[in-house]
């Protein structure tokens, strides 16, 4: 008899990833869930180390997220930003007063020599998060965009320029030399691994930076458990953010199928929305057609169950 297969590793970007991560954390034992977060968006601003995707996932799992705004913390105050503006500081990147505590304390601990993964683990423990949240690497990887207006750092492109410049190429600076956290590699090689989930996040800005870390990609490719992705595209549109615009600029068809093809060599199964059911037969892998628009908490839990069921069906077929 083999060991119980109960570990799930999920690759997450920001908002879409955090929603499915929350769903997963509620339909399985939280301690068996490992969330590998994109850190390609991380940057230094006002001298503070900011990790937008890590924080979105952390706040979401701790129940501290602002569901209306979609980023940052609920019950947030903005006194800092108003005071900063009066002093002539840079205000293009909005930092809530509570959110600032995460950045100030993380920066302090990084400067004291702690690894981002250790700081993240400690924050999550203190916030009562059962799942294990791990940055894709403790090494610095920075997503940059080659655009028609020249090379832009991620936050310059995403926040300051609001994704307006046409993208020619996405570059993951530092990824080739980065190493995944040993615990992530161990989980991907663990006989108890049940599934690797690629969350419905922007492929270029959230998932592919993670996959650009060589040993992480290799470990996913070599994992014994099924790799299941969820489409971030519904009916030819992204739920949020520039995914559709970027696909189009990069010469790709804006469709659920086109996203699946980007992950092709890794993918064992795909989950897409009922709107895109016609793509189901064209991908050559098992496809689950369901509701992928996660509006309610029940939507998140249901999608998480469908994703795990998809992996379990493949594993059963292979057994």
């Amino acid at each position: 008899m083999s060991a119980a297969r109960n570990l799930v590793v999920a690759l997450c970007g920001g908002i879409g990833g955090a929603k499915l991560a929350l769903g997963l954390s509620r339909v399985m034992a939280g301690a068996d869930l490992m969330l590998v977060a994109n850190t390609g968006d991380d940057f230094e601003h006002l001298g503070l180390a900011i990790s937008p995707d890590l924080d979105t996932i952390m706040y979401t799992l701790a129940g501290l997220d602002d569901p209306q705004r979609g980023w940052g913390r609920r019950n947030e105050s903005w006194t800092f930003m108003a005071a900063l503006e009066a002093l002539g500081g840079e205000t293009w990147f909005a930092l809530g007063d509570g959110d600032l505590a995460t950045h100030v304390e993380r920066t302090r601990r990084l400067r004291a020599g702690e690894a981002l993964s250790a700081i993240t683990a400690d924050f999550c423990r203190r916030l009562g998060i059962a799942a294990r949240l791990v940055p894709m690497s403790d090494d610095v990887v920075r997503t940059c965009l080659r655009t028609e207006e020249g090379r832009l750092d991620f936050q310059d492109y995403f926040v300051r320029r609001r994704c307006a410049p046409r993208v020619l190429e996405v570059i993951y600076d530092g990824a080739a030399a980065a190493r995944a956290h040993a615990d992530v590699l161990a989980a991907l090689g663990d006989p108890r691994l049940r599934a690797v989930v690629i969350c419905p996040s922007n492929p270029f800005l959230s998932i592919e930076p993670i996959l650009a870390v060589p040993d992480l990609r290799e470990a996913i490719a070599g994992a014994a458990a099924p790799v299941v992705a969820v489409s971030p595209i519904i009916g030819g549109r992204a739920v949020k953010g520039p995914t559709a615009k970027m696909m189009s600029e990069l010469g790709l068809e804006v469709s659920a199928a086109a996203v699946a093809r980007r992950y092709r060599d890794l993918l064992d199964a795909y989950v897409l929305d009922g709107t895109d059911a016609d793509a189901a037969g064209k991908l050559g892998i098992p496809v689950t057609v369901t509701n992928t628009l996660m509006t309610t908490l029940a939507d998140r839990e249901n999608l998480a169950r469908d994703v795990l069921a998809s992996a379990d069906a493949l594993a059963k077929a292979a057994a």
Copy 2:
């Protein structure tokens, strides 16, 4: 005919100094007032450069101070501190959300290579402060206390230990090598100098760190204009803070006269409260007896007028 004597240089610590600084700024042309602030209390906390006395003076002159609390900013929020506590950060030093903007932006600019004096001047300009606020030095000077419990950094003693340990000696680390700002030295040597004012601040923690900067002390001693101090002691007690406790621990009489004797070699005139009128004849210099307890704004303006009148009377007598 000599030039108009309109420049005033005032040495300030925190709250008491800021009150008289505000009074001075309202009874003379703000642009003619130079406030030299103690930076011996400055420290790094959570990776941020904090300058308590500079900020108290700046907030007071900008009308941003909290008159009830006596430190920090009015209409402050505290979301940062609550969030920091949840993350396990150090919360013994209270940082309001608006106040934090000053520290974050100052730290960023210091790290970018700007001088504390330049950053302070820019903040003051943006906050509409007409007076010139200058740190006693751009070089690092740190007040430390040798106590019965060992050596303590200033904020450890003042905030964390609430001034409880018995003080044996006050040390101004770095002062001997520190240099005053050239503009302060120029003002002290300017023929238009009307007065040098030593504000009613703690002698050991606020004024003597300033006087410990060698070229600054020398320039004050050599200034052609009268040097007038205001007693921080009223009726044998300090209005606020540990002045009286420290005087007693250091073997000094707790009195307005004892403070005057500490500044003796620099002092041309002294201003003390009516409660201490009996000391007036004992000091060997002209003494103004007035109300030095600055409860209302009118108190601050009246005391400022009394201080300037005291200097003007001396200058007239010498002319």
